[in-house]
């Protein structure tokens, strides 16, 4: 599985038609940094399929923790299997932020 950073990722060179399709589905291309990023999220499922086709591998986007702002992959989440919306959307809470008190308690105990 390839994990892509939603804020900027590289793709191999694609044909003009495919590039247009990617743009139409909501990608944006920064020609200076040569990076693709997601502009619109409405067609994200179709976009994911096209990207999987280009990269010839399963892909997942990184999630941003709404509390600490770090990027992490869904596969690291404890609730990955039970989650109703795997991989999408891109905001969630990371494991560290979800149980901060326990971490503190452990520190106190030691």
């Amino acid at each position: 599985m390839v994990i892509l950073n939603k804020n900027g990722f590289k793709l191999p060179r694609v044909e003009k038609e495919k590039f247009t399709l990617l743009m139409r589905l909501g990608l944006e291309y920064n020609s200076q940094k040569m990076l693709f990023s997601i502009k619109h999220y409405n067609n994200i499922n179709q976009l994911q399929n096209v990207l999987q086709d280009i990269l010839k591998s399963e892909i997942a986007f990184t999630q941003t923790c709404i509390i600490c702002g770090t990027d992490f992959g869904c596969s690291t989440c404890k609730y990955f299997k039970a989650c109703p919306t795997k991989d999408l959307p891109f905001s969630c809470i990371c494991n560290q932020c979800l149980r901060p008190k326990k971490v503190m308690q452990q520190q106190v105990l030691f």
Partner: protein, 410 residues
């Protein structure tokens, strides 16, 4: 603490408080904050219960807009849409100048439900309004892929909503626990969130039902939650309903019941007198029940936005004094009212026929005939004094005469 529903108490009032869907929230706030947006209308879509309506209400509050809403309970034909939405979207209200209110915001909830003869021409009317609008127009739908919505999609900014994720639900539950000073085991909140299947509302209801003042909410307490996805029969619903310790627990039982609301209302009415022995408590319970009945009548087949009032009043019946509960034998369906109606059908038909005859001859309504004429007619027939002319004039049959003379009360 236990008499307020936490779902209502902790309903998000700001955009930030709406759980999940960060991308959708950002897109929406960008659009609403833009004075000259590219698209004049926005279509929020996604499964039910993910916060579309809550977000619109929160945004209206935050950006000082006055919401003018048309939902599935309103008729949304071309005429109705033009009557309500056209003035709301094209004129500026006087309150814009007298207060901080920025103006109107038109909110069309459940636009995918615009269908059938009643709503004919509704979508086209909405499109025309969007083209000429001066105010923000927001629409919400569960299924945007419907053919009839295709022209609407072309002129709207589409914003997709997804179900709330488990970590986000846990975080919301944690916040509520902290504010309500409920002590908890993390695993218990985890179980509640997993059990809710992305439905924040049901998770909060479960939390309220399980938490008790001064007690730690443990994982063991959440084992009862396996009941949620089962359809509980009428008998089990009644047991759980009357034995519940608070409003949230009652709501939880009503939620998972497969009984019809009308049947439930009547059966609860039959059993309330057995549940409360104290007259004051009984009066209070009947008061809530009568209010629930009033709202059920107002809901009819259309006004489902009033359902929450019906539901809350029905839940309050069992929560008048949970501590006084002692197990009792239930009167189970069919309810007494239904049986009474069945046994009195012949009598009611006979009386209706007599009243029709009186109404035809005396030019009065059936109701007036029943309330004013029948008591005197009964007395006259019982006297048997020159009644033949009257019977002939009213064209009463011998059975009807016998029925009237033996009538005790009506």
């Amino acid at each position: 603490m236990k008499n307020d529903l936490w779902v209502e108490k902790y309903r998000p009032t700001t955009i930030k408080e709406v759980i999940g869907n960060e991308e959708a929230k950002t897109l929406f706030t960008e659009w609403i904050g833009n004075k000259k947006p590219l698209k004049k209308a926005v279509l929020l879509y996604g499964p039910p219960g993910v916060g579309k309506t809550t977000l619109v209400n929160a945004a209206a509050r935050e950006y000082n807009f006055k919401i003018i809403e048309m939902n599935a309970s309103d008729t949304r034909s071309e005429k109705a849409v033009n009557r309500i939405a056209t003035p709301a979207s094209s004129f500026t209200g006087l309150d814009k100048f007298s207060s901080e209110i920025k103006g109107n915001m038109l909110f069309l909830d459940e636009v995918d439900g615009i269908a059938g003869n009643e709503d004919r021409g509704g979508v086209n009317a909405v499109i025309k309004i969007i083209e000429n609008t001066r105010t923000p127009i927001i629409m919400a739908a569960n299924d945007p892929d419907l053919e009839k919505l295709r022209p609407l999609k072309k002129i709207c900014l589409l914003i997709r909503f997804q179900q709330a994720r488990i970590p986000l639900i846990i975080m919301a539950l944690k916040k509520i626990c902290e504010q309500e000073q409920v002590k908890y085991e993390f695993e218990a909140l985890e179980k509640i969130a997993l059990n809710s299947q992305g439905d924040v509302r049901s998770a909060i209801n479960d939390l309220q039902g399980l938490s008790e003042e001064g007690k730690i909410l443990t994982l063991q307490d959440t084992f009862a939650l396996s009941l949620r996805n089962k359809n509980i029969s009428m008998d089990e619903t009644l047991k759980g309903y009357f034995a519940a310790k608070n409003v949230a627990e009652v709501a939880s039982f009503l939620n998972s019941s497969d009984a019809e609301y009308d049947d439930l209302l009547m059966v609860i009415g039959d059993n309330v007198a057995r549940r409360y022995t104290d007259i004051v408590e009984l009066a209070k319970a009947y008061d809530y029940l009568s209010q629930a009945d009033v709202f059920r009548g107002r809901i009819g087949t259309e006004n489902w936005h009033l359902f929450k009032y019906f539901y809350n009043n029905l839940a309050q019946v069992a929560a008048v004094n949970p501590e006084s509960y002692k197990p009792f034998e239930f009167i189970t369906p069919p309810p007494i009212r239904v049986i009474t109606l069945f046994w009195t059908k012949t009598k009611r038909t006979m009386l209706a026929s007599i009243c029709t005859k009186i109404g035809n001859q005396c030019h009065v309504s059936k109701y007036e005939a029943k309330m004013i004429y029948v008591p005197y007619l009964r007395l006259m027939l019982q006297q048997k004094n020159k009644t033949n002319t009257l019977i002939e004039w009213l064209k009463l049959t011998s059975e009807e005469v016998t029925f009237l003379t033996s009538l005790k009360m009506f």
